[in-house]
Subunit: 146 residues, 4 copies
């Protein structure tokens, strides 16, 4: 397992809550997606550019498994903690936990697949990106051994 | 003013509510948009087809004015009542009221502009569509005079 | 496995789509929730009433597993097909598939837990409701054997 | 007009966009609401606390007028610029413009009313809060004259 960890802050606004007084269950998937997009941005991947590039590629959700442990509420300050648990040429598996301080709110496993923007069919991500992510994971692993 | 009236049902689900126990304010714009899309469908306008047609045109919101009169709640059965108050070659003005039975929940005025899908710049809608909407409005006006 | 099946229609509007041209991944959870709420309504369970009843109970998502098979698009007419795969005093497991005609768009397994509205802690659903759901499942199973 | 100005950053994610490739029109109201909530937080108003306080008060949208000037896109970094154009005991009028750098994306005028949490009926905000907001506006006005 990789020791690479990314943390992304999320604040709970009225729009995220429902009449039960808690964050509506599907909104955690949005929080997790924002964290993955933030990671892509840091890796210099422009998803916006891909939309208009015939040779562009996109990452789309292939599957998600979410366990709702505790409820988050209006004004809560949350953190999405993201790890990469598997990296392949055409897919990435993320473990993403939404935390409130050290309380686990929601745990998620999200598998995303790389697709060609023009055909929306599975495709290998560019070698260069694969290598950059691999290097990020290896560097973090090396750090934790030192 | 046109006597043409379209009615579109909407049910309030958990996803529409917020921690105040009422429908979150921006969701009424979604309800109104669904009603306009339903009207377009009945006029045989395929917005989905326009997305992939280089000569296609789309209707985008240019402005909205919304007054929130009463709060709607989980499980409420609402109706979006839509009238066309102005029809021009490149724009349409809708009056859209969200009702709960005969109670006025939210009143809205929405101006939509026609744009070319390729440039996203203002463009006149096809004459054929303009004539069809005009005919719909005239027919309703004639009915109310008889 | 129960032979009980409920079908709930969903239409894809602009609000459901994203810049990739397809339904944004978290929205399928909303569609599935609407279908469960519709089933609750048919079983005469008022979730809205529970919100203001100190003895009320709510059903909250405990976990979801979703597999995204095909992309749905603007104007698609979908059906959420719901089955109950497990029924216990304090939880229900649903299998919910989102179909476009006979094409499988998204498959989901959603476990919901019953909670006391006042404490938001796990609680057994009322015996009367448990029996009513059990009867619905048994009746359907009996039908398929005849 | 007050010279008080608050700025709140917003980033456009996949969840905010639609199949037309731009931010879906109702999402600007969410951005504006987040900015108002951020301002309330800075004024030490806890909206979350109000939800469970029988003497609590909430601010709800009474009306909105929005003009859509330019389209925002995936990955855009926006700023909600908020001014207070009217302050009364039971209501506040905000002018809120969504900017992308110095480009005006969306302009809005939002009138919010103060309501008693228990009755959801109009009520004057606490004198102490009214005075604090008044002082904020006066201080900014004084600054711009010096």
């Amino acid at each position: 397992m990789s020791e690479f960890v990314a943390r992304f802050p999320v604040e709970v606004y009225w729009e995220d809550t429902d009449a039960g007084g808690i964050v509506y269950h599907s909104n955690y998937l949005k929080y997790m997606e924002r964290a993955r997009s933030d990671l892509m941005r840091k890796l210099n991947v422009s998803q916006a550019a891909a939309l208009t590039d015939p040779n562009g590629y996109l990452f789309v959700a292939a599957s998600v498994t979410i366990r709702y442990r505790r409820a988050a509420k209006l004004d809560d300050r949350l953190t999405v903690v993201t790890r990469v648990t598997a990296l392949r040429r055409a897919s990435i598996v993320f473990e993403q936990n939404v935390m409130r301080g050290d309380e686990l709110i929601t745990e998620g496993e999200v598998r995303v697949g790389c697709v060609s923007r023009s055909t929306m069919s599975p495709a290998a991500m560019p070698d260069e990106l694969y290598e950059r992510i691999r290097a990020l994971l290896d560097a973090a692993a090396a750090e934790s051994e030192s």
